[in-house]
């Protein structure tokens, strides 16, 4: 800034090899960023029309190319831009867990919920919401044991009375479409019960209250 004036021409020309690589990069990121075709199109349940053909061809032949995959996934240039798309979420959800201790007591652990946090913490803690958005899905079941172990560790304060199991729960409220009555009570469902790995818990140590 503050360094304007007429710009002379480039001291060095850009190498033609670099230009080839540059356009290769453009092609790769474009292939990767193009949307996935809807499931109905992929399963041939719906006849593709217009731009659907592009997405289908891209998904079946270009995205699966080993060189494209290696370049994009290996370098960190992978990307997808599906915020609030194809439709915004129509359920409000949050997570919590029941922690069962050795003496039989049960304590509800409030996993950070954005709606309950003060404004200043909403930004830094948003990753908890994002993480639970992924964890709550059945296809993410391999993340559940570590989730349970972490919740147990966070709630482990007394070596004589460690958590023995964790019941992870999703809570959700469907957003009513326009003109329909909005429910106010959240639905609850325990989607995973985890038996705490005591050896790991002892190794990681109790947390101060």
């Amino acid at each position: 800034m503050g360094e304007g004036g007429k710009t002379p021409s480039l001291p060095h020309r850009v190498s033609p090899y670099f230009k080839i690589f540059f356009f290769f990069n453009l092609v790769c990121i474009t292939i990767w960023a193009l949307p996935q075709p809807p499931a109905a199109l992929k399963s041939k349940g719906v006849q593709p029309v217009g731009s659907d053909w592009i997405l289908l061809f891209n998904d079946e032949h270009l995205k699966t190319n080993g060189i494209v995959q290696t370049y994009v996934l290996g370098t960190g240039l992978w990307q997808y831009w599906d915020m609030f798309a194809p439709d915004p979420a129509q359920i409000d959800f949050y997570g919590d867990a029941d922690v069962v201790y050795r003496d039989g007591t049960v304590k509800t652990y409030a996993y950070p919920r954005m709606a309950d946090l003060p404004i200043a913490l909403k930004g830094p803690k948003e990753r908890y919401r994002k993480f639970f958005e992924r964890v709550r899905e059945d296809k993410s079941s391999r993340l559940w044991p570590s989730f349970g172990q972490r919740v147990a560790l966070v709630n482990y304060h007394d070596p004589k009375n460690p958590p023995t199991s964790v019941r992870i729960r999703r809570n959700w409220l469907p957003v009513a479409p326009p003109g329909q009555k909005q429910e106010t009570e959240y639905h609850h469902y325990v989607f995973f019960e985890y038996v705490v790995d005591q050896a790991m818990l002892q190794k990681d140590g109790p947390r101060p209250q």
Binding site: L10, K19, N25, P86, A89, S140, V175, D204
Partner: protein, 429 residues
């Protein structure tokens, strides 16, 4: 100004047509845009890392939600570029297999330092590439917590890492000017990094509109009805009628129109600024009403790449012209001279052209109580770069005793200086 891109006339040869394309993507231009973009992205990266720091253990340690082995499993295995071959390439992750916090925590700290260095442009050549590799590593370590803003940050940092983004708006350039190794005007660069970012942004908006085409509620005009009712996203309150019809339809279709324009019409120069302003308004409304941290600021920061470096320099000078009443004229008495290093450096450190030097001035050199006048007081806001470097102290300015340099509040263009001089004199009494 970047080299003009002329449309080839009818009947132009293939070589002529390629020359036009070549000039657009690889022509010469001022590095100022890229420098400003680096400041913004590295600054936002610093905030992003600062957000992560308190929850380091939860996200990046073996005691956290995703231990390293699970992160690897979630991410997927090595990559095979050639089908049918066993040749494999790992994903970029310098912490691959490292679980010891005595390594991972210093690694994270180093990234925070690199983001600050990248922001001020000190050691840019290595700080920004290290930052980019580090951010890719963190993202490959724990992919399950990433949002769109993270992805944009990672991709643009990679672009910055392979570009000469320290050529302008950087401490590196100031040091170069100080030493006399940098030219008065920053050397031009090929504009491909800037063009790459604009293409990337167009790709973001274009593909998001394309995905929305397959939705239902973007077509029936009710999408923002739902987003406004997700309690987990609530941030600041908005008036109730904003979330009712017909405003809901206006914001739904308006979002689509603005996003599509940001992917296409923004490249048509006469429409560029209005469309970018519409994009800023859209993102600021989202940022105000919804808790999607940093995403709006990241998107808006990329908009600078739609402007040539010289346009940004001219814009900064126009802002400076609005504040001409606050210009600081540093007066140097007869017999003394400004240090040549400072003389070289000042134009590069004064984007708003608010500081100027006047040599050969006679006048009172001391205030009433005999203490030296701090001629550079007030320099910090006129040229924050100088203030950050601590170079605005009188001793650094001239090759003489500090008392021989004075700020003389006389001219009409020096109103702000006069006031500050009066305040200083009053305070010293």
């Amino acid at each position: 100004m970047s080299e003009p891109t002329r449309r080839p006339s009818q009947g132009a040869s293939l070589a002529d047509r390629w020359a036009v394309v070549d000039r657009y993507w690889f022509g010469a231009g001022s590095p100022v845009t890229l420098g400003l973009f680096r400041i913004l992205m590295c600054g936002l990266c610093f905030i992003n890392l600062a957000y992560l720091a308190p929850d380091w253990e939860a996200w990046f340690s073996e005691k956290g939600y995703i231990p390293a082995w699970l992160g690897q499993l979630w991410l997927g295995g090595n990559l095979r570029p050639f089908q049918g071959s066993n040749f494999e390439i790992p994903r970029l992750n310098v912490l691959n297999g490292v679980t010891d916090p005595r390594i991972t925590i210093p690694f994270f700290t180093a990234l925070v330092v690199c983001s600050l260095l990248g922001c001020v442009g000190w050691g840019t050549r290595w700080a920004v590439p290290v930052l980019a590799i580090g951010v890719v590593t963190l993202h490959h370590r724990d992919i399950a917590i990433l949002h769109g803003g993270d992805t944009l940050l990672r991709v643009t940092l990679i672009y910055l890492a392979v570009s000469p983004c320290g050529r302008a708006c950087s401490v590196d350039r100031l040091v170069g000017r100080w030493r006399g190794t940098e030219p008065a005007e920053p050397a031009p660069i090929s504009v491909w990094p800037q063009r790459l970012v604009t293409y990337q942004i167009a790709l973001v908006y274009f593909t998001t509109v394309w995905i929305k085409y397959y939705g239902v509620h973007w077509k029936d005009g009710t999408s923002t009805w739902y987003t406004a009712r997700l309690a987990e996203f609530f941030r600041f309150p908005v008036p109730g009628f904003f979330n009712q019809f017909p405003i809901v339809q206006m914001t739904t279709y308006g979002t689509l129109a603005v996003e599509f324009s940001l992917a296409t019409l923004v490249f048509f120069r006469p429409l560029r600024t209005p469309i970018l302003i519409a994009g800023v308004i859209m993102h600021q409304y989202i940022d105000y009403s919804m808790n999607i941290p940093l995403f709006s600021f990241l998107m808006i920061s990329t908009y600078v790449c739609f402007y040539d470096g010289d346009e940004i320099s001219a814009f900064a000078r126009r802002i400076g012209a609005h504040f001409k009443a606050h210009r600081l004229i540093v007066r140097i008495p007869n017999g003394f001279k400004l240090r040549p290093e400072f003389e070289r450096m000042l134009p590069a450190a004064d984007p708003f052209r608010l500081v100027s030097i006047e040599a050969g001035v006679a006048g009172d050199l001391e205030s009433g109580d005999g203490k030296p006048l701090l001629v550079t007081r007030g320099l910090w806001w006129r040229s924050p770069i100088l203030a950050i470097l601590g170079l605005g102290t009188p001793k650094s300015l001239v090759e003489c005793d500090v008392r021989t340099v004075a700020e003389t509040p006389t001219t009409s263009t020096n109103q702000g200086t006069s006031e500050s001089h009066r305040r200083k004199t009053k305070a010293s009494r």
